[in-house]
Each structure stands twice: as structure tokens, then as C-alpha cells.
């Protein structure tokens, strides 16, 4: 049934391709209506795609988009909406940056120092998400509400901690403020790419490993099965011996731990400090990417790359005199149309499946056959 037949391939392609084409058409119409030539936009994207630096930046962006998407997807698998990835990664990035930048850390060997930084980030992310899980299992507070609120709390907490009298250092003449710069031993070296001034994040391998682990845990382990079962039907999961509260806590902790990783490629590969200009809003992009990639490890990777590429073509649009906001419009339309397209394809599949079952029912066994 789910073998790779030409029809199933076409069916699989229908939703994402259809949505992309639709988004392209909508964007072209908007450009045309606002007096811009859609062909200029294509030119701008072409120029961006030609430029190694933009491609490297796109892949780098995709790295943390992907991590954010995986964090969101872990919750999505059991219908748990961790809207709080945003707060979790920012708090985790700040605290781990402060630790990694602290003077005493310099005595540690590089590998250990990086590992400690990453583990602390995961722990902080998990702890922050764990609060929402705790509220849900003990008080029945919807995780949607609590994680949104915890985002706001995280914002204030980060802002409170990111002061010279606490975790930050202020540099004379600078209007920025952030944690002490992580010295070389705590940094993760990037890969130089020919023709690009930006380096590819070394932690791209971390993102890939997280993707593989995500795939493995969800499709190959009992835990993953129970996660899926809980998401599909909580009552059936309970009747099947799944401890739903435990699953809520575990999946929130896992989701938060991965959320804690979101800031790491940027922190250890480029910024080396958590400061005012540390990228924000990645948690929300993660939701879009997870939706687009249907929580699938490879689907999300492709969605993250697409997102990263679009985000990094904004400058090229700007240079060509095309409003950079067209990127937001494209991203928005893609998400909306992909959701609709997936639903249409899903319905079509269900019908096709029922027809197939109808085929199997075509012959009714006689009573003798059944009881023999």
C-alpha cells in the first residue's frame, strides 16, 4: 500500500509542490499589483542562489530552524503544543553563554567545555519546558497558555539577567550588552566554504544527529510509539497502559531539551555571546517549519532549508528594489497553503484506502470457510 508506486510518489509530491506553486503565484500577483516585476524577484533569488555566502547563511539559518522545528514536533506528535520553544531557547542560550564565557571555564579542555555548555543549555530548556508540563499534569493548565506566558516570563528574566551587575559585561562605547565573549576554547569551529565570508556552523552535525535521533526514537522505540498513540487517541493510550501524565512530562522535557539546543549553533559558531542582537523568534519559525515538514525528520530538514534560503534572500530583494516583506508573505502563504494541501491529499488518501478495503471485501466468505 505504502510502497513507492508512481501514484504514491505523485501523491506525496502533490501537497508540497502544489503549495509552493500556489505561494509563488500569490506572491507574483502581489508583486505585480504593487507595481513590481515578478521577474525581478526571480532574478534576485537567482543572484542569491549564486552567492556562496547567501547559501552558507541559508544553511546556517536552517540549522537552528531545524532544531526549533524538532523541538516543536516532539510535542506535536502527541498533540502537545509547545509554543514556548522561543522562551526556552533564549533562556538556555543566555545561561549557557554566561557559563561558557565565565573565566573558570577556560581551564577545561575544549571538548569538555563545549559539551558542558551544550548540556547546560539542554537542561535549562528542559527545566523551563518542565514547568509547563508540571502545571499541566498537576493543575490541568493548558500547555498552550502556560508556554506562551513562560515566553513572556523568559523575556523578562533574560532582560533582568542580561545586565552588567548580573551575567552581562558592558563594553565602553558599546550600546550592546551581553555575556562575556566565549574564548576560542569554548567555540565550535566552522567550515570554510570557498567564496563565502561566512563559515558553515560546525554544529550542523549536532542538528543532523538530533534529526536522526528524533527519527529513531519516534519510529523505532516503544516510547515513540506511545507518544504517537497518545497523540492519536488519549483514551486509547490510557486503556493500553500508557501513563499519559508521564508522557506529557517526558515529551515536554525532551522538547525543551532540544529547544535548549536551538541557540547553540549561533552562540558557539558565530556570536560567542548572548547579547541584544541574538536572533529572536526562532521558536515561532520552528512551529512553521514543523508544520511545513509535517513533523517528519526529512520533511522538516527540507522545510528548514527552504525557510533559511527565503530568509536570506531578503537582502537580495531589497537590493533589487523589491520589498523585503515579500519574503514574509511567501512564507505565510506557503504555510497556509501547505496545511490546506496536506489536508486535501490526506482526505484523498483516506478515500483511496477505503476503496482498497472495499476491494478486499468484494468476496464474502461463506460460513463454512470461516469456521473451518
Amino acid at each position: 500500500m505504502r510502497k513507492l508506486t508512481p501514484r504514491s510518489v505523485l501523491l506525496g509530491l502533490a501537497a508540497p509542490v502544489g503549495a509552493l506553486v500556489f505561494a509563488a503565484v500569490v506572491s507574483a500577483i502581489i508583486l505585480a499589483v504593487t507595481g513590481h516585476a515578478p521577474t525581478d524577484a526571480v532574478d534576485a533569488m537567482a543572484r542569491a542562489a549564486e552567492r556562496p555566502r547567501t547559501l552558507v547563511n541559508a544553511v546556517n539559518s536552517a540549522t537552528y530552524y531545524y532544531l526549533a522545528a524538532v523541538a516543536v514536533a516532539i510535542g506535536f506528535r502527541m498533540k502537545l503544543f509547545n509554543i514556548g520553544v522561543d522562551g526556552q531557547y533564549r533562556l538556555a542560550a543566555l545561561l549557557s553563554a554566561a557559563l561558557a564565557g565565565a573565566a573558570f571555564m577556560e581551564q577545561l579542555p575544549s571538548f569538555l567545555r563545549i559539551t558542558v555548555t551544550i548540556v547546560v543549555a539542554m537542561l535549562v530548556g528542559a527545566a523551563w519546558a518542565g514547568l509547563a508540563a508540571l502545571l499541566k499534569v498537576t493543575r490541568g493548565v493548558s500547555e498552550v497558555i502556560s508556554t506562551i506566558m513562560l515566553n513572556a516570563v523568559a523575556t523578562y528574566l533574560v532582560s533582568y539577567l542580561n545586565r552588567p551587575e548580573r551575567l552581562a559585561v558592558s563594553t565602553a562605547g558599546s550600546n550592546n550588552i551581553g555575556t562575556p565573549k566565549i574564548t576560542e576554547g569554548g567555540q565550535v569551529a566552522g567550515f570554510t566554504v570557498e567564496g563565502s565570508s561566512s563559515k558553515l556552523f560546525g554544529l550542523i552535525f549536532l542538528a543532523a544527529a538530533v534529526g536522526v535521533l528524533y527519527w529513531f526514537v519516534l519510529s523505532r522505540t516503544r516510547f515513540g510509539f506511545e507518544l504517537k498513540a497518545t497523540g492519536l487517541s488519549e483514551s486509547a493510550a490510557v486503556a493500553s497502559g500508557v501513563n499519559v501524565k508521564k508522557m506529557v512530562v517526558l515529551s515536554m522535557l525532551l522538547s525543551g531539551a532540544v529547544a535548549g539546543l536551538v541557540g547553540m549553533p549561533q552562540l558557539l559558531g558565530s556570536s560567542y555571546s548572548y547579547s541584544l542582537d541574538f536572533p529572536a523568534g526562532l521558536g515561532f519559525i520552528g512551529i512553521a517549519v514543523a508544520l511545513l515538514g509535517r513533523n517528519h525528520p526529512i520533511g522538516m530538514a527540507i522545510a528548514a532549508l527552504l525557510w533559511g534560503f527565503l530568509a536570506n534572500t531578503a537582502n537580495s530583494f531589497d537590493t533589487s528594489g523589491i520589498p523585503r516583506e515579500i519574503v514574509d508573505i511567501m512564507q505565510g502563504v506557503i504555510v497556509l497553503s501547505v496545511v490546506v494541501a496536506y489536508e486535501l491529499v490526506r482526505r484523498y488518501r483516506v478515500r483511496a484506502e477505503q476503496h482498497a478495503v472495499g476491494g478486499a471485501l468484494g468476496r464474502t466468505k461463506t460460513l463454512e470457510e470461516v469456521s473451518s
Binding site: 498513540a229 490510557v238 501513563n243 483516506v350 472495499g358 478486499a360 468484494g362 460460513l367 469456521s371
Partner: protein, 513 residues
């Protein structure tokens, strides 16, 4: 006949093909206005497809539909509702956490200006409920209702929308005899008001007692149109399947002295503080089937859930004996522990507790057995093992499916049930809690399921059997208990008891046990 008004519904030459299969072929049915018209047939005979066509969910490839003499063409259920046709589905489509009122008005909200006029809706629901004796209280939460009451809400919902032709899909599958009588009373009142009922069933006695006309469908086509006065149940059954009906019976007693499931003074309080299980005690021995008779909503669901560890009891003790005879107190054990200790569970509502509709058959095989071979190796899933065992179940239990990779939602209710029974009988359970194990399955499969239970019983399986089908209860049980308002009120020997005796004990009219 010639003076009668035009037929309420007339289906002529209806044919529906799915790729590679014909679901309906030249179906002709004439439903006279103001009658109860039964459509009988085995599962998979094409009844459901036919009703979907009539209800506008699928267009026919050929043929015509006429309502009150006028040809119609339905693009969606909304069209059918506008034409006065309403459907009560086998699986209820009610939102648990809304009240009856809210469920009924959902989608056709009453308006007064721009505001919702709930007062008017409430009054209208009361009127309908009273007029047909449905006994539905608009402000109760659906979550608190038993299966029987939910069905009446479904019927009311359809009436509320102004249906003049009601399609009832296997309505009695979920009811006890007294409730069936009530339902039939309702149907007669509806009929007297000039409404027309299309009644889909495979319970032939009921069909014979309530229907004015009967159409038999086999393999997608109408094989006979008969009047109930002209046929016996047996003849009707033979028209349906072309062979004799299976009979539920246990030949020799296999009851041993080895207690397997011992329940002492089990007490459970409901959400509203009311006692739903009051001091229940019983013991089921290896090789014994304990049947529990009772009107739906008298504590059966709570009993089963307490035994499975889904809801903790307020008081009492539950002990489980293993094959070696060692007794373990499992009163506080988790559902997983109980399952691992060999408790199988066939739930009353399979969509709520039995299957994952959006997961494949083999994943459904794993469900509830994810911690045991052949489904796992330590913390890992054994996909190969699970798939192989699913194929075994599919063939042993005659689950009709093209593949074990299809989603459970693609299967008919009966085939889902067969998969569940097959799954729960896997791995030699020591005790099986079976709520309505043959509900909604066709006669062939019913026989097969009974046979599987009998064989497992012979190998020392202890069974708690809850059923609304009194013939099944009497035929399959070694011991029979009657539950009423959360208490065991009577015990019978199934060899001597009659359905009537059981029925009156179930409603509290009989002797107190």
C-alpha cells in the same frame, strides 16, 4: 396500495463502483411513507455504502433517488437534510465535553437577532424529547451519558433538524432488550406522526418485530423484499448469508477451582459523588466465563475500567492469579502492569479505547501490547515481529483488508473489532475483559469470535463477559450476574435462565439477589 401517497424514498437501479469492486449493484428499494423499513444484510454486504449514497455522502454511479416522488440528487449530507433525510450513525458524533443542548444545536445554532437563543432551543429539545419519550435532558454533559442515552441524543439531533426520514444504522447494537423495546416504542410513535424510518440491522428478531417491510441485501445487491409476516428469522438469516445461523453455546464446562480474578468489595464513586459501583465481589476461575447482564449505564463501564486500572476504585481489592496459581494484589497496579500480567481488554467503545483510527493495522496490533513480544525488543519496537503477528491475526480472525499498512479507519467496524479480539487474545492472556465482543460484527465473524473464546477458555482463560445480547450472554457464560445501579442484584445459572427473567432482573422488576 394504489391509494397510498408516493413512496417516501425510492431507490432505483443504484450502482456504485469503487476501483476494482462493485459496492452496490442495481439496488432497488421502495420505502413507503410512514413505515419502518428494515434493510438487513451481513457486514460488508453494501448497506453502509447504500446509506451513504442516500445520505448524500457519496454520489451513485448509476441509478436514481426519489424523495416523495420527486427525483433528487444529493451533493452532500446538507442536501439530504434539506430534503428531510436524517441519519443516526452507528458511531456517535457527539462532543463529550458539551451539553446535550450544545451538541444538538451545534451547526444549526438558534438565533434571536444576532444572539444565540438557547432558551428556545432548550424548549424545543424538551418538546421533542417528551413527544417521543426520549427522556433527554438538554443540560446534561454528554460525557456523563451512557451509550443508550447518547444514541437518543443522536436521534433527537436529527429530529431537531426537521428530518422526516430517519436512517438508523444498527441502532439496537448498543441497547438492552428493555431499551430496545423503548426504542421501538419511539419508532412507532415517530411512525404514527407520519415519519419514515429506515432501519439497518442484522438482528433478525428485532427486525421482524418492528419492521413493516424488509429488504435483504447480499453482496451489494437486493436479493429479496419481504414482509415480516411471510418469513421466519431463520429464513431471513439464510437470505442474508446463505447458511444457518451460528449459536452461542458452551458445550462442556471447563471451570476449574483455580481463582484467576478475585474482586472483593469493589466500590467506585462517580464524578458527581454518586456511587457507581457499590460493593461488588466476585471470583472468576480459570476456564470460567462470568457473564454480566445489565442495562447500559449501570456500572459495567466503571467496573471494567476499575479492573483495567484506568480509574482507581475508592475501596475494595482486586487480586489476579497467574497460571501457577500465585495470587497478586493488583488493586493499585497500573494498567500496563495489569496488561503485562495477562489481562486482555476488549473495550465497549472501540473508537475511544480500542483502536487508533489514524494508525496502521500493525501499529494497532502493538497498541496495549507494546511492552511484550512479538512487538518489542527491550525499549525498541520490533516492527518485523509486530507485522508478522498482525498478518497472523488478519488471517486467523478473517480481518478483511488489502494490507496491514492501511489505517484502521479504512476498516469497517466489524473488521476493526475482529482485529481487537485477535490482538487481545494474543500472547495467552489469563483473563479477558470483554465488553460486547461481537458488537457490530457479521454472523460469520461472530461465530469465529465465540469459537476463539471457547478455545481459550478450554485452555484456562478466565473471561468477564459484558454484553447487551442476552442470547450471547446466556450461551457463552458459565455464571451469570445481573448488575443494577452499580450492584450485583441477582445471579443465575445460564443453563436454566430465560432472557425474560434476565430482562426483568436487569430493570429491577425481578427478585432481589
Amino acid at each position: 396500495m394504489s391509494t397510498e401517497p408516493p413512496a417516501a424514498v425510492e431507490l432505483t437501479g443504484i450502482t456504485k463502483r469503487f476501483p476494482g469492486v462493485i459496492a452496490n449493484s442495481d439496488v432497488n428499494i421502495t420505502v413507503r411513507a410512514g413505515t419502518v423499513h428494515a434493510i438487513v444484510g451481513e457486514n460488508g454486504a453494501g448497506k453502509s455504502t447504500l446509506m451513504k449514497i442516500l445520505y448524500g455522502m457519496q454520489p451513485p454511479d448509476e441509478g436514481t433517488i426519489a424523495v416523495n416522488g420527486a427525483p433528487v440528487s444529493f451533493g452532500s449530507p446538507a442536501d439530504a437534510i434539506r430534503a428531510g433525510i436524517g441519519m443516526v450513525h452507528q458511531h456517535f458524533m457527539l462532543a463529550d465535553n458539551l451539553t446535550v443542548l450544545e451538541n444538538v444545536v451545534l451547526g444549526s445554532e438558534p438565533r434571536k437577532g444576532v444572539a444565540l437563543d438557547f432558551a428556545a432551543a432548550r424548549a424545543k429539545i424538551r418538546d421533542i424529547s417528551d413527544a417521543y419519550g426520549l427522556g433527554v435532558h438538554p443540560d446534561r454533559l454528554v460525557d456523563d451519558l451512557g451509550v443508550g442515552e447518547r444514541q437518543r441524543v443522536e436521534i433527537l439531533k436529527v429530529l431537531y433538524r426537521g428530518a422526516r426520514v430517519l436512517i438508523l444504522d444498527e441502532p439496537t447494537a448498543v441497547l438492552v432488550p428493555q431499551e430496545v423495546d423503548e426504542l421501538f416504542g419511539n419508532l412507532r410513535e415517530l411512525k404514527a406522526e407520519g415519519l419514515t424510518i429506515l432501519f439497518i440491522s442484522h438482528k433478525l428478531d428485532e427486525v421482524l418485530s418492528v419492521a413493516d417491510d424488509i429488504t435483504v441485501i447480499r453482496r451489494g445487491t437486493t436479493v429479496a423484499s419481504v414482509s415480516p409476516s411471510d418469513v421466519t428469522a431463520r429464513e431471513l438469516a439464510e437470505l442474508m448469508v446463505g447458511s444457518a445461523l451460528p449459536v452461542p453455546e458452551l458445550r462442556d464446562s471447563t471451570v476449574t477451582a483455580k481463582p484467576v480474578l478475585t474482586v472483593k468489595n469493589l466500590t467506585v464513586t462517580g464524578a458527581d459523588g454518586r456511587l457507581v459501583l457499590d460493593d461488588i465481589s466476585f471470583t472468576i476461575h480459570a476456564g470460567e466465563v462470568l457473564g454480566i447482564a445489565g442495562v447500559e449505564g449501570n456500572g459495567q463501564a466503571e467496573l471494567v475500567e476499575a479492573l483495567m486500572g484506568i480509574h482507581a476504585p475508592n475501596a475494595g481489592r482486586v487480586t489476579l492469579g497467574d497460571r501457577a496459581g500465585n495470587q497478586r494484589d493488583i488493586t493499585r497496579a497500573s494498567t500496563r502492569h495489569r496488561r503485562e500480567a495477562g489481562m486482555g481488554y476488549i473495550p465497549e467503545d472501540r473508537h475511544r479505547q480500542g483502536v487508533l483510527l489514524e494508525a496502521s493495522l500493525w501499529e494497532n496490533r502493538v497498541l496495549g501490547h507494546q511492552t511484550r513480544p512479538p512487538n518489542n525488543r527491550g525499549p525498541l519496537l520490533d516492527r518485523k515481529g509486530a507485522k508478522a503477528d498482525t498478518r497472523r491475526i488478519v488471517s486467523e480472525y478473517d480481518v478483511r483488508t488489502p494490507s496491514i499498512e492501511v489505517n484502521a479507519s479504512a476498516l469497517s467496524g466489524g473488521n476493526q473489532q475482529k482485529l481487537i479480539v485477535g490482538r487481545e487474545m494474543s500472547g495467552r492472556p489469563v483473563v479477558l475483559l470483554a465488553s460486547h465482543p461481537t458488537r457490530g460484527v457479521d454472523v460469520g465473524a461472530q461465530a469465529a469470535i465465540w469459537d476463539h473464546i471457547r478455545r481459550a477458555r478450554a485452555q484456562e482463560l478466565a473471561v468477564l463477559l459484558i454484553s447487551a445480547d442476552l442470547d450471547e450472554l446466556i450461551g457463552m457464560s458459565d455464571t451469570l450476574a445481573v448488575i443494577l445501579r452499580g450492584r450485583f442484584v441477582a445471579e443465575y445459572d445460564p443453563r436454566t435462565v430465560t432472557p425474560e427473567q434476565l430482562g426483568s432482573a436487569m430493570t429491577g422488576a425481578g427478585k432481589e439477589g
